[in-house]
């Protein structure tokens, strides 16, 4: 009996050590409302509008109207090499578009390879939202291998694009195809609900690739030779093919946002926050450069 109690004591000691070490200090935190900013400046195009809204708790109804922020002071600054404002562009609320602020200056073009800063303040509260983006270098379509292609023919539509130079890294691209004559009778077989993978999804007007690295397409001359996958074509007829280069902010936001609901090596249920360049909120104040060409897809 003595032996037994000695054993019980030994075991109890181990159990106690274990339990004392096990107090959980890693507790779930609670929802905090955040400002949401989205805007993309496009090289050599007029300043784009910027949306300002807020998040909602997951279990509440979401609507842009309800979350739109109306009384913000939005300005975008072109910075000089020293990081000081060289020119400031004021934005005003767009009465025709919920949550949107539009630039007063509609003629100024976004300058490639320059840095722009966003600053949002509020007349009735001390909150400040800031962000910066470096505009990607421009590029152009040097040539294509034709303008009319039979669906799924080989060779595919091919375009040679000049490089968008970035001194610190290779460029990241997204290719998208916009059907200029979208209608249900114009759908390619893959998107036909009877046959396809699209199933009951509504066929998109613009269909885009994932983010792709420049190294896939670089030629020995330093240009990019891009063959358009037939997978990206949704409609017969005329299509606009756009090659878009992403700045760091857009790249980081979308590469992290796109795996929130799966599709990566993360365990199911392990959801990361999207990486944002917005200080004082979330979302993306990014920039892009793009080049387009047209092609016609026949049956």
């Amino acid at each position: 009996m003595k032996t037994f109690f000695r054993q019980v004591k030994t075991m109890s000691l181990f159990l106690l050590i274990g339990l004392l070490g096990g107090c959980d200090t890693y507790q779930q935190d609670s929802y905090k409302k955040q400002y949401v900013v989205q805007g993309y400046l496009i090289a050599l195009e007029p300043l784009s509008p910027i949306s300002v809204s807020t998040t909602v708790p997951l279990n509440e109804i979401y609507s842009l109207e309800a979350t739109a922020v109306k009384n913000a002071k939005v300005e975008v600054q072109l910075l000089n090499a020293q990081g000081q404002p060289e020119k400031t562009f004021d934005y005003v609320a767009d009465p025709d578009s919920v949550s949107m602020f539009k630039p007063l200056d509609t003629t100024a073009l976004v300058m490639p390879s320059r840095t722009y800063a966003l600053r949002i303040t509020f007349p009735d509260k001390p909150d400040v939202i800031t962000a910066k983006t470096v505009i990607p270098d421009t590029m152009r379509v040097i040539r294509t291998n034709g303008d009319t292609f039979r669906y799924q023919q080989q060779p595919q539509f091919e375009q040679l694009i000049s490089p968008s130079l970035n001194p610190s890294r290779q460029s990241y691209f997204i290719f998208s195809v916009e059907g200029l004559t979208p209608s249900t009778t114009n759908l390619v077989p893959f998107w036909d609900p009877e046959n396809g993978f699209g199933g009951d999804r509504k066929p998109p007007k613009v269909y885009a690739s994932p983010i792709l690295n420049e190294a896939n397409y670089r030629t020995s001359e330093g240009n990019l030779l891009v063959q358009l996958p037939w997978l990206t074509v949704v409609y017969f007829g005329k299509n606009r093919v756009t090659t878009t280069v992403l700045d760091d902010a857009t790249y980081n936001f979308f590469r992290t946002q796109s795996v929130q609901l799966g599709g990566s090596t993360l365990s199911p249920g392990e959801i990361p926050n999207a990486v944002t360049n917005i200080v004082g909120g979330t979302g993306v104040f990014g920039s892009l450069a793009r080049a387009t060409s047209l092609m016609t897809v026949t049956r």
Binding site: D29, S30, Y31, L261, G263, S267, I271
Partner: protein, 760 residues
């Protein structure tokens, strides 16, 4: 400085072993075998009765007792599930007697009625667990008996879900466990994308698991080792076993080529899911449309195991072994889309065991291992395919020198060359993601010193060289075992471990697994393990083990989960680098004898990880962190023919990330298949919430019988998840409704299982 002291200690122990301490010079050595098949038995106990001198057989089934006085002895040999064999021997001065000992199997339905002290001592060494094949096949199992799913019931070992056979041991991910079949590394030990492990229970002789603090003879992983040996085959007569199950059917045959000198074993297994898939494929709804989408056109797996063993001389044994397994699936998704994946493993080994003298035993192995995975598909004539291969050739040599009963010295080497190739093609653009060819060499020395009946000290040092990155790393190992009394043993162990490989996997789908290696700019991961164990025998027929562990993990390298494309990136930019730690206390209460027997395993533990730019750089629990984990298994002999088995599991819900808020960000690019833009979740701490607790009860009944006069039969009736508790695997979020609806992704429902086995 610490390392120098440690090296000094190891050298001292080695020197101790070389100094003759006794004048006696007779010896006794040989193999311990199953009397019915002549199969060698691993870790059988050989004792000189009336003394404390004894040993256990090594992984080749060989034992040595040295420095014995001339005289008459009674040798007692025992092994779990076998009748103890007592033999009288007479040793003359200087005699080196070779004595192969044969044990008769116990004729009982419960194999754990007989235990041998020394064997039990070895099995209850710190961090060690051994599971018999009969336990594996007896436990209720989802559709088929499975080695890894049985191991998951032991304390300290967790599964990620009902759908995964992956081993999450003491807070480590599955790639932190070295998995070896006949001394050959297996790189993807799964069938059905992780649902089952590849090991066919009919072919297996022995499964040994080092949960932590593993000795210097093993290396290359941060956490644990699963060391599996296939049967050599019956050396006396042809025997076989055939089994029909719901998921697969299997057959294994073994026999002699030359009586008592050579043997062979062949085992085959193939899935039998085609009829079920055909029924599912042909089921229609009210409108005549297929009721289920995406039912594979083609889905099967198979595997083969084989071994041939030949004794050239009493001192030389050679064996050739192989494993080949493959999974194939082909899924049509509409006229414009098709998806195929083929993955599997092939391993082969040649093993030569040579006995130089009663004191010196050696084993040399040449191994080859290949893992391949080749998913491919076509969507709207756009093709994508992947070529993913790991090929490894290696040679190993292990020497055991036993100068006297107090000392055992082991030295060995392992050298090889590994090739990893990964190539992705999309729309005719090919990207060679990995093309790694690297040599590696490791060597170890280890001394076990038993100065008296109470103490056993083991010290070892392993040196590893890895070609890519030119890394040389030293791993000291140390363990001590103190037997306080018959009912109490105290054990402690420390070890440093390096890992030069990392597995890129998605726990839901192992068919795409990719291995990567350390290289320049990618340092090998390393960690220290500290173990403290108390092993008790509170009552006759009962064991109670308590083991605590702490381990850290440093320089973990893991594929950056946010990389959309790897083209053009330097190798070190493919990874995120992190660290982690885990601690826990495991309780294992076992009743190993009697009509009612079984065990209760409970683990109280935590594991944490930290990566830059994740969770604001703070530690977070990975999904498989579970604070409490309880498994209870019980076997009850209802009669001489019927046995009932039950397994109950309870575990803290897995960690998951609770989305706190939402917003919507327009994609400036349009829609795509990469989820760019759209609904965005905002979260707080990563994995700070818990799914509901997991619990499940499996029950089974086994009826033993005869098939005429030529065989024995076994009918297994099992009910998995007997009270149909739908455990949650993870949550999904439906953004098509507003507000967002959380959807439970459930694990297995109640499942019946039936299997019929004939042994002839």
């Amino acid at each position: 400085m610490l390392l120098h002291r440690f090296l000094g200690f190891v050298i001292l122990l080695l020197l101790c072993s070389l100094v003759p301490t006794y004048a006696q010079n007779a010896s006794l050595s040989g193999y311990v075998r199953d009397a019915s098949s002549d199969e060698t038995l691993i870790q059988a106990t050989v004792l000189i009765q009336g003394t404390t001198t004894g040993t256990v057989t090594n992984t080749s089934g060989y034992y040595t007792l040295n420095r014995l006085k001339a005289g008459n002895y009674t040798i007692s040999c025992s092994y779990i599930g076998y009748k103890t064999n007592r033999l009288s021997v007479t040793l003359s001065e200087g005699q080196a007697l070779i004595l192969d000992i044969r044990l008769e199997p116990e004729d009982t339905s419960v194999e754990v009625t007989v235990t041998s002290d020394r064997e039990e001592v070895e099995q209850r060494n710190v961090g060690v667990t051994q599971m018999s094949v009969s336990t594996i096949t007896r436990l209720p199992s989802v559709l088929q008996a499975d080695v890894f799913r049985s191991l998951q019931l032991l304390p300290g070992i967790k599964s990620s879900s009902d759908f995964s056979s992956g081993l999450y041991i003491r807070g480590g991910s599955p790639d932190q466990t070295l998995i070896m079949l006949d001394r050959t590394t297996v790189y993807n030990p799964t069938h059905i994308f992780g649902f089952f492990s590849t090991f066919n229970p009919d072919a297996i002789k022995d499964v040994k698991l080092y949960k932590g603090g593993y000795p210097a003879e093993y290396g290359g992983r941060l956490g644990s080792v699963v060391d599996i040996y296939n049967k050599e085959g019956n050396r006396k007569q042809v025997h076989g076993v055939a089994s029909l199950g719901l998921l697969s059917s299997r057959i294994a045959v073994e026999g002699p080529l030359q009586q008592e000198k050579s043997s062979w074993m062949l085992a085959a297994r193939r899935s039998t899911t085609e009829p079920v898939l055909a029924v599912l494929r042909n089921m229609k709804d009210e409108d005549g449309n297929p009721r289920f989408q995406g039912i594979p056109d083609n889905f099967y797996f198979y595997d083969f195991n084989g071994k041939f063993t030949y004794d050239f001389t009493p001192k030389d044994k050679v064996s050739l072994g192989f494993y080949a397994g493959q999974d194939n699936v082909s899924i049509p998704v509409g006229e414009q889309t098709a998806f195929k994946v083929r993955y599997g493993n092939v391993t082969g080994n040649t093993n030569w065991t040579h006995i130089f003298s009663p004191q010196l035993f050696s084993n040399f192995t040449f191994t080859g291992s290949r893992y391949f995975s080749s998913p491919s598909g076509k969507i709207a004539s756009t093709e994508f395919k992947r070529r993913n291969e790991v090929t490894e050739w290696s040679s190993k040599g292990d020497f055991e020198y036993i100068p006297d009963p107090a000392h055992q010295v082991q030295i060995g080497f392992w050298a090889g060359r590994m090739t990893i190739f990964l190539q992705d093609s999309f729309n005719e653009i090919t990207n060679e993601v990995l093309d790694i060819q690297t040599p590696y060499v490791s060597g170890y020395a280890q001394e076990t010193w038993r100065p008296n009946i109470q103490w056993s000290l083991k010290a070892g040092l392993r040196a590893n060289y890895f070609g890519d990155g030119n890394y040389l790393r030293l791993e000291p190992r140390l363990s001590a075992d103190f037997t306080y009394s018959e009912w109490l043993r105290i054990q402690a162990a420390y070890g440093r471990y390096y890992q030069f490989l990392s597995l890129i996997t998605n726990e839901a789908f192992s068919g795409f697994d990719v291995w990567v290696t350390a290289d320049e700019g990618v340092k090998p991961a390393w960690g220290d393990q500290f173990l403290l164990g108390v092993k008790t025998k509170p009552f006759k027929g009962w064991n109670l083990d308590v083991e605590g562990y702490y381990r850290n993990m440093n320089d973990l390298f893991d594929l950056d989960p946010f990389l959309n494309d790897t083209a053009g990136l330097p190798y070190n930019k493919l990874f995120r680098f992190g660290q982690g730690y885990a601690w826990g206390t495991e309780f294992f209460l076992e009743k190993y004898a009697g009509q009612l027997n079984g065990f209760v395993g409970y683990t109280f533990g935590r594991t944490w990880r930290k990566f830059p730019n994740i969770n604001n750089g703070a530690y977070y629990p990975p999904k498989y962190d579970r604070t409490h984990d309880l498994n209870v298994t019980a076997n009850y002999d209802l009669s001489s023919k019927w046995t009932a088995t039950a397994v109950f599991s309870y575990a803290t819900g897995q960690a998951y990330t609770e989305p706190l808020g939402r917003t919507y960000i327009n994609s400036p690019f349009g829609e795509g298949f990469a989820n760019i833009g759209g609904d965005v979740l905002t979260i707080g701490k990563l994995n700070a919430s818990r799914l509901p607790a997991y619990h499940r009860l499996d029950v089974g009944f086994t009826r033993k019988g005869n098939v005429g006069s030529w065989g024995k039969s076994e009918l297994q009736l099992q009910l998995i998840n007997a009270y149909s508790h739908r455990n949650i695997w993870f949550y999904q979020y439906d953004f098509d409704v507003n507000p967002v609806k959380r959807i439970d992704t459930l694990q297995l429902p109640i499942l019946p299982n039936i299997a019929y086995t004939i042994r002839f």
